[in-house]
Amino acid sequence: MDKQLARLPDAESRNYRTLAISTAFILLIPVWARFIPGDVLHIDIVNVMVLAGIYACVVVGLNLLVGYAGQISLGHAAFFGIGAYTTAILCTRIHGFPTWLGVLAGTALSGAIGWLVGKPVLRLKGHYLAMATLGLGEIAFILFQQLKWLTGGTVGILNIPPLSMFGLKFDTDLKLYFVVWIIVMALMLLSINLIRSRVGRGLRALHSSEVAADAMGVNTSTYKVQVFVLSAAFAGLGGALFAHFQKYVNPESFVLAISIMFITMVVVGGMGNIWGGLIGVLLLTFLPPVIQALPQWLPGLPSGLQNFSNYELVLYGLLLILFMMFLPKGVADGLGRAADFTEVRARRLGDRRKAKRLEGR
């Protein structure tokens, strides 16, 4: 029986292991990227990865909400925007306002607004919840546009100072890269802890059957609001980092298409898989440049296809469909199964070697 108990936390420790490895890997990317010839992938990897990290903050939180608790949101660009505008307004209006405090304020305000709207709206289910959150996102977008005295209207807010903390100024992409990705990994750690805990089981239970979860003593309505607030705060944090990264915000960065992009990242990566969010972000970030690079990799392409801006989105849409057809549970799920497979193989290989060694003796 004790053997049983000892074997169960396996998945958990694998998550921590993967987290440690991927953190090391991601922190090495800038070193690595400097030596990739510029003409292989037509992107500035560090710059693109900062934005990916910022989106990852949102998507990791959204995965808790959508993938684990089963509550959809098509309005998370709004929380992304609230975080961005909060710190942008504080840091440009109040001279010398500490930027890290602005980021915290953005996170907190986003969470608070998440609580205010989440409480009534989360009584809705399924597509009706999708519609309501979509509506909230649109309302937020219109407010960003119309509240000129506060948000600068359609022109937006210029000259946002770079992030600085503990006397360090994160004014280049490379410096910001480390801040952003350490934050992402911290959020990942938080999520891994959470889903393997009592709370995480409660959320998954509520996803599976709200009635049964209720009956088993899970306070589903409170849990729904709490996880919504958490994901709103994550999105706000991402937004605040975005403001200090781009140093300029305007409403166009917080449109419905961005909300849909977040959800797509969650689903393509893998709903309810803790790595799904991260993988979805990386995949959808690097898909367009890979598509863009295709013509030079395949020189035989007809000239009509060489005109890249025409076919990029055609191919992107097509690939999105294909991914969902062949990996409907997300790429993370596919990778997980592959990892299981290799691990089992490796273990068997190890056992066989051990056996051989014993025989040899």
Partner: protein
């Protein structure tokens, strides 16, 4: 214990491979070899897709045309010129990524773009921090006000267009009361705000200031509100297809007051969409739209004629003002490189010192305090008569 070690073995092995790959690539990785040192690279971030695509595509066309014309000749001081064009999909975040890529990765010496005000403003911090000269094709006033050392502009600003419209209202129409109906996007709001602020200084009262959504298909409620005011003219600030819908709705409501558009409808698409409702509509536009408005024989007229012919030959349709913006941005930068050199500082100095440069949009003059290049004299008022443009003298 043994099991635990085993569990870590695979990932650690993987990690070691990665580190080895990293070190390996450090050793033998191709450093960015500049085999083409003699090519002058200029980056361009344009909106080739998304809502601003109708702006970005002609800009791209003329940049490509400029590139091939320059390289067919002597290039710039014997060096080939390359415009590296990126699509920002009308998204500010993508514009930032694209300019970073072009400056850091491609090592361009100057930048062009973007097509819309929002995307351009998103590019400004990057241009500034890397001290790269950026010549934009967007008309929003906020881009050059206050003047930023590295940011220049080719198109006539919204302010200039507004001045032109106000001149038309007071001069030709003798109107004292106007209504404004504008798109709720950056372009529409920017124009409407400035128009509403400037109108009183010319003795004009704004009786109504309404907006519509970019994708709205019916503006009659706003128009009926305007109908209820004593406005003598309606100024519509927006890009297609909104103004065409408004023109049709006005026809439906039998509204007879003059319709004055923005430079956003300075294209044939507006006439196609609005049909008979387009007749009588006036708007500010570049001289290049009606080449005969420029004195024959002047260098400007010659340039416009050649540009129009070349563009029409290459792309099968007459150039619009956006094509002119792209061409002029390219010309300004290559001229600066020709006269001063290709370091970022030299380009900035040379562009700022530009005087009397003949473009397609007009004659460009920049200074330390003026990065707008053109003046409202480079615009004319155009009226649509029987589906064709005529200059209002």
């Amino acid at each position: 214990m043994a099991q635990k070690i085993l569990r870590w073995k695979l990932p650690i092995a993987l990690f070691c491979v990665l580190v080895a790959a990293t070190l390996g690539s450090m050793g033998c990785g191709t450093q960015k070899v500049d085999t083409s040192k003699s090519v002058y690279k200029i980056g361009a971030v344009l909106s080739l897709s998304g809502p601003a695509a109708p702006l970005g595509q002609p800009e791209q066309n003329s940049l490509k045309m400029l590139e091939s014309q320059l390289n067919a000749g002597a290039g710039v001081n014997g060096h080939k010129v390359q415009f590296i064009i990126e699509d920002d999909q009308s998204d500010p975040a993508k514009a930032t990524a694209a300019i970073t890529l072009l400056i850091n990765q491609e090592g361009v010496s100057a930048m062009i773009g973007s097509s819309s005000t929002g995307a351009t403003l998103a590019m400004v911090p990057v241009a500034q921090s890397t001290q790269t000269t950026l010549v934009c094709c967007a008309a929003g006033t906020a881009i050059t006000k206050p003047v930023n050392k590295y940011i220049f502009r080719t198109p006539p600003t919204d302010s200039m267009a507004i001045d032109k419209v106000l001149g038309y209202l007071t001069g030709t129409l003798k109107a004292t009361k106007i209504a404004i109906l504008h798109d709720a996007n950056a372009y529409g709001v920017g124009g409407a705000t400035e128009l509403a602020a400037k109108a009183p200084t010319k003795g004009i009262t704004v009786t109504a200031n309404e907006s519509y959504g970019t994708t709205d298909t019916d503006m009659t409620p706003q128009l009926t509100k305007i109908q209820a005011t004593p406005a003598q003219a309606l100024v519509v600030w927006g890009t297609n297809p909104g103004p065409a819908t408004i023109a049709k709705n006005m026809q439906q409501l039998a509204m007879k007051i003059p319709f004055i558009g923005s430079n956003g409808i300075a294209n044939k698409t507006f006439i196609t969409l609005a049909g008979s409702a387009a007749n009588g509509v006036a708007f500010p536009g570049g001289n290049m739209l009606i080449p005969s408005s420029i004195t024959a024989g002047t260098p400007w007229r010659n340039a416009v004629d050649k540009f129009t012919t070349d563009y029409t030959t290459a792309y099968g349709k007459a150039p619009d003002t956006f094509a002119a913006h792209g061409w002029d941005a390219g010309t300004i930068l290559t001229t600066a490189m020709k006269t001063a050199g290709t370091s970022k500082a030299q380009i900035q100095t040379a562009v700022q010192a530009t005087k009397g440069l003949v473009g397609i949009d007009g004659i460009y003059n920049y200074s330390a305090t003026n990065h707008d290049g053109l003046t409202s004299a480079d615009l004319i008022m155009i009226k649509i008569v029987n589906g064709a443009w005529t200059q209002i003298k």
